[in-house]
């Protein structure tokens, strides 16, 4: 890209993001808010996951643990301790971050495929713990979580109020990810992804950066999970199941690995698909998800947003 075209490209991105932001503000008047809220939760979840895989090159196959744990913590805090929703969300996020720190310390001791297997195994351990301890309600999950009043003032049982809270949470989370990627820290992550030995030889403490990225990603996944519990007023066992970990990988891959908007686009596609298909095809949903996975890996590795970007670039060169 030449220096002259850079400012215009920057303005274009700004216009794009502002347009999308305004669209999000008016969306609940056109589309069923609960569906939108679910979509934003998964979009944030997938974006947090992408920060790790797309920008640091670390494949975590256990991200459901962060989503689920934060969901349970938030649910317990709001329902049984009686705190306001924002404290519940905060508590869930912090717990997910701490769990991410523990996972991170263990998993970064190995790389590549082992990293994925370790995170998967650790997440499975969390699943069994959640299944067995009494506080989480075992197979029934945590039910009857009240949405409560935000800051003790705004009644969240109103779907529109809840929507704007979710939208605010998503926007903040997305902004954090955007800033992280575009900061010097994000650049170092990319350097580690591209060539780890070189990053080490340049004097960077690679493990420290990986761990930081892991904690940020886990916290934001937790933020999504805690918010999700408030929306649906329950935390369920499926949130910590490895299927959910797999789903977030699929969303990111389909949308475009390592692109900023990709995970959001991918999760929107998958959530919509699941909503549409659930009644019609029953257990074939898994087969369809698996097929999308296979097709993405074999023939569509850039994902939706990645393909669009490539098209734009090709058009620009001509």
């Amino acid at each position: 890209m030449s220096t002259a075209s850079q400012p215009t490209a920057l303005i274009k991105t700004e216009v794009l993001y502002s347009g999308l932001f305004i669209l999000g503000l008016i969306a609940p008047f056109a589309i069923y808010p609960t569906f939108l809220m679910k979509l934003f939760c998964f979009a944030l979840f997938a974006s947090a996951f992408n920060l790790l895989l797309g920008f640091a090159g670390l494949l975590s196959f256990g991200h459901a643990a962060f989503l689920g744990t934060a969901g349970y913590v938030c649910g317990l805090m709001v329902r049984d301790v009686g705190v306001t929703p924002e404290i519940g969300i905060l508590a869930g996020t912090v717990c997910a971050g701490l769990l991410g720190w523990v996972f991170g310390i263990l998993a970064i001791r190995r790389t590549g495929i082992y990293f994925a297997m370790i995170t998967l195994a650790l997440a499975q351990m969390v699943y069994f713990v959640v299944l067995q301890i009494k506080a989480t309600g075992g197979e029934d999950g945590l039910q009857g979580v009240p949405r409560g009043h935000l800051f003790g003032l705004i009644d969240l049982s109103d779907n529109i109020a809840m929507y704007y809270l979710v939208y605010a949470v998503f926007s903040i989370g997305f902004f954090i990810i955007y800033r992280t990627i575009h900061s010097p820290f994000g650049q170092i992550l990319k350097a580690i992804r591209e060539n780890e030995p070189r990053a080490i030889s340049l004097g960077y403490d690679v493990n420290k950066f990986k761990l930081m990225a892991f904690v940020i990603s886990a916290s934001l996944a937790g933020l999504a999970g805690a918010t999700k519990t408030l929306i649906f007023q329950l935390a369920s066992l499926s949130d910590v199941h490895w299927h959910t970990s797999g789903e977030v990988v699929l969303m990111t891959l389909l949308g475009g690995l390592g692109t900023i908007l990709g995970p959001a686009v991918g999760s929107a596609t998958i959530v919509t698909l699941q909503n549409e298909l659930a009644d019609k095809v029953g257990s074939w949903v898994t087969v369809i998800m698996g097929t999308i996975f296979v097709v993405c890996v074999l023939a569509f590795r850039r994902g939706i947003v990645g393909e669009i970007q490539a098209l734009i670039q090709r058009a620009g060169i001509r």
Partner: protein, 294 residues
């Protein structure tokens, strides 16, 4: 008779269950290790292929009246051929890419296979009769030993050591080991490496199906039987490291026994004990018990 305040019959039967689980861990992690050695791919579909083995045996018995012994050979062959097709049509295209894509592809395949079986057979599970020749049991004085369970252990160990012998002592095994070290040079020496890779994947997958047939009379034949097992096997592989064939066998059986002991002394932890050991091993010996430092 009591040992550490636990009735010996209980201790014995749980150790036996542990040994059986350990044999399955050993066969499955061995297959994963062989595939990983040559293809650099973690076969996430391993659990689904194990489940396919069990289902083929069950279908053969109930629909076609084909007995256990035929199924024990036929199911691994069929699933192995299925693996060969997967390797030729899909996996082959990914060798030049990041290894993670292999994991993702096989994960997708596992979802497809499991979804189809779930749609066809539900999740309630089917039971498979123990073959007549292996029915009944022996009273060992301190515990009752069902013959089929003893057979499972013997059969898995035989297959494990047979595989070890083939890899360490035969010419084919030598090609395989050389291919694991440096496949380009092996190819330059005139050996058909792509064929070797296809064979290896097929063999690893066949091992999974073999374990599946062995498991059919013990566990419920259920579309989800593989996915829960495979995550534990991943932990086993992380603990043992995939560098050594004997290492995977020993680690698999050892962890099965530890799991069995945990079930006696602290049953609540039996589901997570393998993962806890994984954590400890990662802290003390990050490369795994038998692994080479990366």
């Amino acid at each position: 008779m009591e040992i550490f305040g636990v009735p010996s019959a209980l201790l014995g039967s749980q150790l036996l269950v542990g040994l059986i689980n350990g044999s399955f861990y050993a066969v499955l992690s061995l297959g994963l290790a062989i595939i990983f050695g040559l293809l650099n791919i973690i076969n996430f579909a391993h659990g689904a292929q194990y489940m396919m083995g069990a289902f083929i045996a069950w279908l053969a018995l109930t629909k076609l009246n084909i007995n256990y012994w035929v199924a024990l050979i036929a199911a691994p062959v069929l699933v192995g051929l299925f693996g060969v097709i997967l390797e030729r049509t899909m996996l082959r295209k990914l060798y030049k890419l990041d290894h993670l894509y292999g994991l993702l592809l096989t994960f997708g395949l596992a979802l497809i296979i499991e979804g189809i079986f779930r749609d066809q057979f539900g999740i309630s599970g089917e039971s498979y009769e123990v073959p007549e020749a292996l029915a009944g049991g022996v009273n060992l004085g301190f515990m009752f030993l069902p013959i089929y369970r003893a057979w499972v252990i013997v059969a898995s160990l035989t297959v494990c050591f047979g595989t070890w012998y083939m890899i360490e002592k035969t010419r084919l095994g030598a090609y395989l080991r050389a291919g694991t070290e440096n496949s380009q040079i092996v190819q330059a020496l005139g050996i058909n490496v792509p064929l070797l890779i296809t064979f290896t994947y097929g063999y690893g997958v066949a091992l999974a199906a073999f374990a599946g047939v062995l498991a059919a009379p013990i566990f419920q034949v259920n579309p989800l039987m593989g996915s829960n097992l495979i995550i534990v096997v991943f932990a086993v592989v992380v603990i043992g490291g995939m560098g050594s064939i004997l290492g995977s066998i020993v680690t698999g059986i050892g962890l099965g026994l530890i799991e069995g002991l945990t079930r006696v002394f602290y049953p609540e932890a039996s589901a997570v004990v393998v993962f806890v050991i994984m954590v400890i091993v990662l802290l003390l010996r990050p490369a795994g018990l038998f692994g080479k430092a990366a």
